[in-house]
Structure formats: structure tokens, C-alpha cells
């Protein structure tokens, strides 16, 4: 599925300083019944965000209007658990384009990259600084540069670089996906398949 190109993002951020945020929290299984990719943002963090009677839990960060922006900052081991891409869709559909953490679970990271959400992995120390900066001033702006592979706290100028492989970087900045690439390799794939014993 095509998505917006990603290059430079300047935004405030929403802090979620909890470790091991698993994909069942990001989107509970009972919301996986759709057959189209629509409306998942409404159920992002559903059970942390709403009471059983659907009234908002006022203490949860997404219900606090002072926190907003296109960047979600999470604690260590973000996105563990189920492979459901719905979790990445929910993050995207809600309006986030970048997720920052000191550690990501593999499949969630992959899923994000495949749909145009940039996972930015930074050091635990820098993650603390980001949380502090937001705590001091929720309007703190951050800048994510994909070409430079940097994440900057604009108020202080503090900056850290992050890793991403060149292939995925190219895809994100051009809005391409893997299928476009693989379809061009169809001949190679077919001759390879012929050699497989089963």
C-alpha cells in the first residue's frame, strides 16, 4: 500500500514512559475483525484510553489535550508480542508518523517500516532526556531527519543519530514498498522456485 514519503518531520511529541508496551495494548484483539484497513486509530490503546463504558480515562496521555504531535515516544521494548500489523496501522491512523524508543520488538519495527511509520531507536539516556524535555514543556518540538538519520530536541539542540538500512531508507523517502521491488524480480524468483525440492 502506498504511503506518504518521509523526509523531515518537525513536531511536538506524545510521551508514554512505560516499558514492554505490547501490541495487545496498542490494539486489543477484539478490534481485529475488520476486513479493510480503516478506523484503527480510534482503538489505539483502547483499554488504556477508555473505560469499559467507553468514557475516556482522563489520566491517559492521549486524553490529555496538552500532549499532541506526530511523534510517539515509548519506553523500552516497544511493540512486543503479537505480529498484528493492525498495531502499526493504529499508530499511523491516529496520526503518528514516527515512534521513538530505546528498543523495539522486531516484528513491530518491520511492520512500521512497511507502512511508512519511522521507528527511531535511540540510547536509553537520550530517551530519558526526551521524556524530561516533554515533562518540562509539552510544547517542546523535535526534529526527525531521515536523510541525516538524526533526532533533535530543538529547544536544547541535543541530537542523536539512529540506524536504518539503506534499502528501507530509500523506500521510506520515496514512498515505495517492498512489493514494487519484488515484482521487478519476478523472473529471478521463478527460476529460484524451480530449484526448490518442496
Amino acid at each position: 500500500m502506498a504511503y506518504d514519503k518521509f523526509n523531515l518531520l518537525k513536531s511536538t511529541a506524545v510521551p508514554l514512559p512505560i516499558e514492554n508496551v505490547d501490541t495487545d495494548q496498542i490494539i486489543p484483539a477484539r478490534f481485529l475483525k475488520a476486513t479493510e484497513r480503516k478506523g484503527f486509530g480510534d482503538n489505539l490503546f483502547r483499554d488504556w484510553r477508555y473505560n469499559p463504558d467507553d468514557t475516556p480515562k482522563t489520566h491517559f496521555v492521549l486524553n490529555n489535550p496538552i500532549y499532541k504531535g506526530k511523534i510517539l515516544v515509548g519506553g523500552k521494548n516497544f511493540g512486543s508480542g503479537s505480529s498484528r500489523e493492525h498495531a502499526a496501522w493504529a499508530v499511523y491512523d491516529y496520526g503518528f508518523r514516527c515512534v521513538v524508543s530505546s528498543f523495539f520488538a522486531d516484528i513491530f519495527r518491520n511492520n512500521c517500516l512497511n507502512i511508512g511509520v519511522l521507528p527511531v531507536q535511540i540510547s536509553p539516556e537520550f530517551l530519558d532526556k526526551i521524556f524530561k524535555a516533554i515533562e518540562v514543556d509539552p510544547n517542546t518540538e523535535f526534529e526527525v531527519s531521515l536523510p541525516e538519520q538524526t533526532f533533535t530536541i530543538l529547544s536544547t539542540g541535543e541530537m542523536e543519530t539512529f540506524g536504518i538500512n539503506a534499502y528501507k531508507k530509500g523506500n521510506l523517502s520515496n514512498g515505495f514498498d517492498d512489493i514494487d521491488y519484488l515484482l521487478n524480480l519476478k523472473k529471478d524468483i521463478e527460476s529460484f522456485a524451480d530449484t526448490r525440492p518442496f
Binding site: 500500500m1 477484539r30 479493510e36 522486531d106 514498498d177 526448490r196 518442496f198
Partner: protein, 471 residues
């Protein structure tokens, strides 16, 4: 050089290496279910492209299906719609579909091995993280997201950077009452839920060599819970014996040729892993989890650890215990429970039902317990009946349900109510995993059975005699 089991299988599936990028990785067999596939099929439609190799894909309905009255129309309109979509997509693209009521229907990771779809040296993917189960056969198997499901349907390949390698050795013999589930929960409690992220694990040593295929599947299944992409065990006589003559395994000459190849699938003596860990089988006792991730497990006779003895943030730890309404330092044994779930791709195979029956035989289900016993497939269900296990269960006051994922992810009606405790043989104890507000204690079928007949967390060794555990 390819000298680990993992390298040998990986390297023979690389169609193309991309400089500074992932490998173009060929997938031999692809399993599809109703929840993570509809958007992938929609993608094919939007691009107007077919499924490249429909004969390499197999579809089943399991995640979102009722476990009673499967012969009646599915009541929940959204679930029914998802099942209909899969049936239609499979028919349109010529993919075999084993829907509700089909004799081969069951949980993806149970039916793959059962029907010989899972083979040593193969690559297997599915839009479900517990695809790691199939690694028990010496396959490279892992879970993928829906975009990747679409990739595999369209091109039989995904773009995958090669993970690092880790070997976990456990030598010695397991003690009485200790099962493969306990081995896995023990490893995860040592590594934490992110300890193997970025790695592909090989399990080696006496414990795995002498383990049944069912047990190996349980262990490999749980690899994802320590963050690993997958886990695998070198194929041996136990493996070949299991797969022989199954419907989709090679036959005749093709079998002989395959055997020749499969016998080369082991790690060479001089192989080096990026990380290697060794544990002693004698240190493992029946395990149970007390928190909200699978790494929060403890030996059943130990208590709930104190925050100061736990790695990671105390705040996260306290939040987790608060959710469970447990306190640090308390005993886990003796805690009253409300539900028992025997099933899932982790522990929904025949061996698991045998183990459960060995404890409940001649006893009665506790009055305060609601028990859901859900076979992993119709074939498991048939075996339960043929082996006389059903009678034992009935006499003890238990009912058997129809196959499916059920309370493992609680997408259907099998939901544990808020605040209630469930001893569950599944794989995840995340907040709300078994229903909003549910509290899950992960354990083996033996521990689940002991809880089911006593109504509380009980060490199964207190109920078992030596003979019954060995059958």
C-alpha cells in the same frame, strides 16, 4: 560459511542479497488465517495481481471462531464476515481452505505439522508470531505482518535481514513433573521478553534431543516471547518418524532424496554463534507466571520476586503486580483461581491432553473453576476420543470444546471476565489478553490440571505419582 543449522537453511533460501539491505528471502510454505489476511488480499486486488504460487499457501479458520456449535452460522457478524472473506479469497486464488467443520481444520500451527506441510529445511511464514512453532522440525519459521503476507502471496518472497544467531543448551534430565512448557517459561524468565530480540535461536542439548515433537513445538512456539524471531531444533529420528507418511510430505523417491538432505541439517562442531547460553535441566521446576508478560515467571514453589531482585524499572514492575492484584514476596502457590484454559498452539496437542488427564483422572473439577478445554485441531479432538481421554475428562466433570485459538487471544466469546484469574496453557499473559481486565497465569498442562481440580495454584507434583506422569 554455512555451518550452523540456521545458516544452512537460511542461505539456501536467499534469492538475492541487497547491499546494505535485507535479503530477498524465498518462502516454501505459507499459512494463512482469517484475521491477518483480508487486507493482504485486498492489496492484491488493488494492484490487480494474482497469487504467484497458490499451491504453496494453505488457509484455515482459527483465530476468530466459536468453540461451540461450529455447525451453526457464526453469530458475530464481524467474525462471520472475516470468515466469509477468507473463504472467498481462497477460492478466487485457488488456495486450499480448511474452514470450520473441515476435518483438517484447526489452529494454523497445529495443522501445519499434522498434515506434513511443515518440513525440515523449509521456510514457513504466517501472519501470526507463533509461527516459530514449526522450527521444531528444523525449519526456519517466523511470524510476519500483513504487508508481508501480501508480499508472499504476490511473490513468494519477503525482504528480510538475516537475524543474529543464538544457541541455548540445556543438558541433563528434566525432573519429575517438569514439562517442555516449564523449560520454555524458565528460559524466558532468565532472558526476559526482549533478551533474544534480533536473534534466531537454536535449542540444543540432551533435554531437546529426548523431547517429543509435541514438546519441541511447545518450546519453539514460545521463542517469540523472549523476543526471538524464531527458534529451531535439528531434525533427527524423532522428527522423521513424526512427518513420515503425512499428507503433504514427500513420498517414495522424493522422500529418499529429501532424507538425504535433511540428514545434513545440523550444526557443525566448529560453529560459532553470536551468543550462546547454557542452563542445567536440574534447575528447572514447574513454572507459573505472576505478572503481565511471559518473562515474569517463577518456579511454583518460589514466591513472587521482590522488585529489587527484578531487572528493569520498578515502576513497570509495580504496575504489573497491581494489575494482577498480587504483592511482591507473596507465595504464588495457594492463590485462588477462577478459570482454566487448556489449549492454543502452545499446548493444544494430544500430549497436552494426556498430561492434563493424568492429573484429573479420578478427581473432580473444583466448583469455583470454569474450564475451557480446547483441542488444537479436529485431529487432536479425534485422538482425545480414540485414546479414551474424553471419558476421563467427562468423569472428572470437564467438557471438551471444538478446535480454535479460543481464549488464547479471546477474539471469540471465550473471554475471561475482568478481575478474574485464569491458569492458562497459552503463551501470553499481557493485560487484557484473555478479555478486558482478565488476569492470566501461564503454566503447563500439568499445572493447569492441578489448578482445575483444586481451585487454586497447586504444585502438580503433589497430585501425581511417578507412574502417572510417565505415561
Amino acid at each position: 560459511m554455512s555451518n550452523t543449522l540456521f545458516d544452512k537453511v537460511w542461505d539456501t533460501h536467499v534469492v538475492k542479497k541487497i547491499k546494505n539491505g535485507p535479503d530477498v528471502f524465498f518462502i516454501d510454505r505459507h499459512l494463512v488465517h482469517e484475521v491477518t489476511s483480508p487486507v493482504a488480499f485486498l492489496g492484491l486486488k488493488n494492484r490487480d495481481i494474482p497469487v504467484l504460487y497458490p499451491e504453496r499457501t494453505f488457509a484455515t479458520a482459527d483465530h476468530n471462531t466459536p468453540t461451540i456449535n461450529q455447525h451453526l452460522p457464526v453469530k458475530d457478524p464481524l467474525s462471520a464476515n472475516q470468515l466469509k472473506a477468507l473463504e472467498k479469497n481462497a477460492a478466487e486464488h485457488g488456495i486450499p481452505y480448511w474452514g470450520l467443520g473441515h476435518e483438517k481444520n484447526g489452529i494454523v500451527h497445529v495443522i501445519g505439522p499434522e498434515n506434513g506441510i511443515t518440513l525440515p529445511g523449509a521456510t514457513i511464514v504466517c501472519g501470526d508470531s507463533h509461527t516459530s512453532t514449526h522450527g521444531a522440525f528444523g525449519a526456519i519459521a517466523f511470524g510476519i505482518g500483513t504487508s508481508e503476507v501480501e508480499m508472499v502471496l504476490a511473490t513468494q518472497c519477503i525482504m528480510q535481514p538475516k537475524p543474529k544467531s543464538m544457541r541455548i543448551n540445556i543438558n541433563g534430565a528434566l525432573s519429575f513433573g517438569v514439562t517442555p512448557k516449564d523449560v520454555a517459561l524458565y528460559i524466558i524468565s532468565k532472558l526476559t521478553t526482549s533478551g533474544a530480540t534480533g536473534y534466531f535461536v537454536e535449542y540444543a542439548g540432551d533435554v531437546f534431543k529426548s523431547m517429543s515433537m509435541e514438546g519441541r513445538m511447545t518450546v519453539c512456539n514460545l521463542s517469540i516471547e523472549m523476543g526471538a524471531r524464531g527458534g529451531m531444533i535439528a531434525p533427527d529420528e524423532t522428527t522423521f518418524e513424526y512427518i513420515k507418511e503425512r499428507e503433504f510430505t514427500p513420498k517414495g523417491e522424493a522422500w529418499d532424496k529429501a532424507m538425504e538432505y535433511w540428514q545434513t541439517l545440523y550444526t557443525e562442531d566448529n560453529a560459532v554463534f553470536d551468543k550462546e547460553l547454557t542452563f542445567d535441566a536440574a534447575d528447572i521446576e514447574p513454572m507459573i507466571t505472576y505478572g503481565t508478560n511471559p518473562g515474569m515467571g517463577t518456579g511454583i514453589s518460589n514466591g513472587i520476586p521482590k522488585a529489587e531482585n527484578v531487572e528493569g524499572g520498578a515502576a513497570t514492575y509495580q504496575k504489573s503486580l497491581a494489575y494482577m492484584d498480587f504483592n511482591e514476596g507473596e507465595d504464588i502457590k495457594g492463590k485462588s483461581i477462577d478459570f482454566v484454559f487448556l489449549g492454543s498452539c502452545t499446548n493444544g496437542r494430544i500430549e497436552d491432553f494426556r498430561a492434563f488427564a493424568s492429573v484429573v483422572k479420578g478427581r473432580k473439577k473444583a466448583n469455583n473453576v470454569t474450564a475451557w478445554l480446547v483441542p488444537g485441531s479436529h485431529k487432536v479432538e479425534d485422538a482425545i476420543k480414540e485414546e479414551g481421554i474424553l471419558e476421563i475428562l467427562h468423569e472428572a466433570g470437564f467438557e471438551l470444546r471444538e478446535p480454535g485459538c479460543s481464549a488464547c487471544l479471546a477474539m471469540n466469546d471465550d473471554k475471561v471476565p475482568a478481575g478474574k484469574y485464569a491458569v492458562s496453557t497459552s503463551n501470553r499473559n499481557f493485560e487484557g489478553r484473555q478479555g478486558p481486565g482478565s488476569r492470566t497465569l501461564l503454566a503447563s498442562p500439568l499445572v493447569a490440571a492441578a489448578a482445575a481440580v483444586t481451585g487454586k495454584v497447586t504444585d502438580p507434583r503433589e497430585l501425581l505419582t511417578m507412574e502417572t506422569s510417565n505415561n
